[in-house]
């Protein structure tokens, strides 16, 4: 009995739902607009979060740790240190840079001013030799530093990586994550409330019908489903429109920025494919979910007959 009622349900339900959205067109439009507004604001924050986290990841992956050797290191010391570093499974790669290479690199980086260094040669080279280390996981930077420091005065002079730079980025990333979460919660409550009110109007307009349905023996799920479908549909429509708006805006901003020197050299906004791919799933799930939730709250008290 129960199963056969599920079988024929969708057709009636879809019919009743579409009629209802049409009948309440003004309130339906208001609900959709509120979802759009909420999702656009949310979208902006999400894009910010995604960009910051991508930037952090990017910077972290480019981070290198430099183990500077003492100026009077011996070949034996150099080998021991290199062996220890290469044996560690935290380390992606170890490259040796002799003091001559370091000087050449520095000189090259000075470009037209390289003549400043012309007084230096292999005899009085002030640049120390070093190992340049890339780690697999940026979180291990400190551990690798500790490992390298065990060879202090046994060939190693000091170890250096951009601690402070990383810390600032990580902090900022955490901050944007938290901020997005707060915005998410606040806007969700507002959107659910607006959808709740729309569906309540629908439910109220059809309360006679609901009463009759209950007397003829309709189950609560049967009565509920068109309202939930209606709310979900409003949420989904809002999500799709908001997504399109955000997408157009993102490409526009990207176009503006690519020609300007606003962004730090070497960085750009996260690729649109990545951002939009994440966003569309989130929007659809979120839109549908708040629509359904608002409806469930709205119909609850009308079901007791």
């Amino acid at each position: 009995m129960k199963f056969s009622s599920i079988k024929t349900m969708p057709k009636n339900v879809v019919r009743d739902t579409l009629k209802s959205i049409e009948r309440n067109n003004l309130m339906s439009a208001a609900s959709i607009l509120s979802v759009i507004a909420a999702l656009i604001i949310l979208g902006i924050f999400l894009i910010l979060t995604i960009n910051v986290s991508e930037l952090t990841k990017d910077v972290e992956s480019r981070l290198e740790l430099k183990v500077f050797l003492q100026s009077d290191y011996t070949d034996a010391q150099k080998l021991t240190v290199q062996q220890a570093l290469e044996d560690s499974d935290m380390i992606e790669s170890v490259t040796f840079e002799s003091s001559q290479e370091a000087l050449d690199k520095f000189s090259a980086s000075l470009d037209q001013y390289s003549s400043l260094l012309s007084g230096y040669n292999s005899q009085n080279n002030p640049m120390p030799a070093s190992f340049i280390i890339h780690v697999k996981d940026p979180n291990d930077l400190e551990a690798v530093q500790t490992l390298a420091m065990t060879f202090k005065d046994k060939g190693v002079e000091y170890v250096k990586y951009g601690e402070e730079y990383v810390q600032v980025l990580v902090n900022f990333s955490n901050f944007t994550n938290t901020l997005s979460l707060v915005v998410l919660v606040v806007l969700s409550i507002i959107s659910i409330f607006i959808i709740y009110n729309t569906i309540k109007l629908t439910v109220f307009a059809r309360r006679r019908e609901i009463g009759i349905m209950k007397y003829v023996g309709a189950t609560n799920n049967y009565i509920r489903s068109p309202f939930i479908l209606e709310g979900t549909l409003l949420g989904l429509i809002g999500a799709i429109v908001a997504f399109l708006v955000i997408r157009i805006a993102y490409y526009y901003v990207l176009g503006l920025l690519s020609g300007s020197s606003f962004l730090p050299v070497g960085t750009t906004l996260a690729s649109p494919d990545l951002v939009m791919g994440k966003l569309i799933y989130f929007f659809l799930i979120y839109g549908g979910l708040i629509g359904a939730l608002g409806s469930i709250f709205a119909i609850r008290k009308f079901l007791d007959v």
């Binding site: 009995m1 024929t8 009463g211 009759i212 003829v216 023996g217 309709a218 609560n220 007959v305």
Partner: protein
């Protein structure tokens, strides 16, 4: 089959009971009138049958099933065994006669094929075949009530409960409605008619239960309108 065993219902603690220790038995296939003044407990009786409310004390059996033990999820399935006819019809204004009756079948998941077959039969039984595509506002009161009866019997309930079915109708139409109910009763459906309509009760010579101030005072096998106004 309907059985009340020492049923008491009180809505609020301080007020007097709406139903006082009522016991009664209505067998399968009976035709019973339930009469009484306003406030005598008739509505409470119907609400208890529909499990809209629960008795404060006592138990109610429908088809040997104690409905006091029913969970909320089971209530719809209880109501599918009963047809209900209201004084104020309760038809859906935006649906045609056919759709109003079909609705009761859609809700319990009958196929479109079954619906197309059974709805005209039910409408034929209440004499409304010629109105099948009309809307409620185009029908007279008596015709609307026939649609309600068709909707109530479309799923073959074992019990048909009628709450003042002739309350809004003129005497002639009332007789037509009652004779339709009698016809349905002849096919084996138990019928309980709650009414104020003294003439009909007296003419029909069916069993009459009389409620007074919540108590069952008269139970006549071939009854007349029980209490004097």
């Amino acid at each position: 089959m309907i059985e009340f065993k020492n049923v008491t219902k009180s809505y609020e603690k301080n007020k007097s009971d709406a139903l006082k220790n009522v016991s009664l038995f209505i067998d399968k296939g009976e035709f019973v009138f339930l009469v009484g003044r306003s406030g005598a407990g008739k509505s409470t009786f119907i609400k208890l049958l529909l499990r809209e409310i629960e008795p404060t004390q006592g138990s109610i059996f429908i088809n040997n099933y104690n409905i006091a033990n029913l969970s909320k999820r089971e209530i719809p399935f209880l109501r599918r065994k009963m047809g209900i006819v209201f004084q104020d019809f309760r038809l859906l204004e935006n649906k045609s006669v056919f759709e109003n009756v079909a609705y009761a079948m859609e809700i319990i998941g009958k196929s479109e094929k079954q619906i197309r077959k059974r709805v005209p039969l039910a409408l034929d039984m209440v004499g409304l075949s010629h109105r099948i595509n009309h809307y409620p506002h185009e029908l007279s009161g008596g015709e609307q009530q026939r649609v309600v009866i068709a909707r109530a019997i479309i799923n073959n309930p074992t019990i048909l409960i009628c709450d003042e079915p002739t309350g809004n109708l003129d005497p002639e139409t009332s007789y037509e409605i009652i004779s339709i109910l009698e016809e349905i009763n002849r096919r084996g459906t138990t019928i309980v008619v709650v009414t104020h309509d003294r003439e009909i009760v007296d003419v029909m010579k069916k069993r009459v239960l009389t409620l007074e101030d919540g108590a069952l005072t008269v139970d006549d096998a071939i009854g007349r309108y029980g209490y004097e106004v």
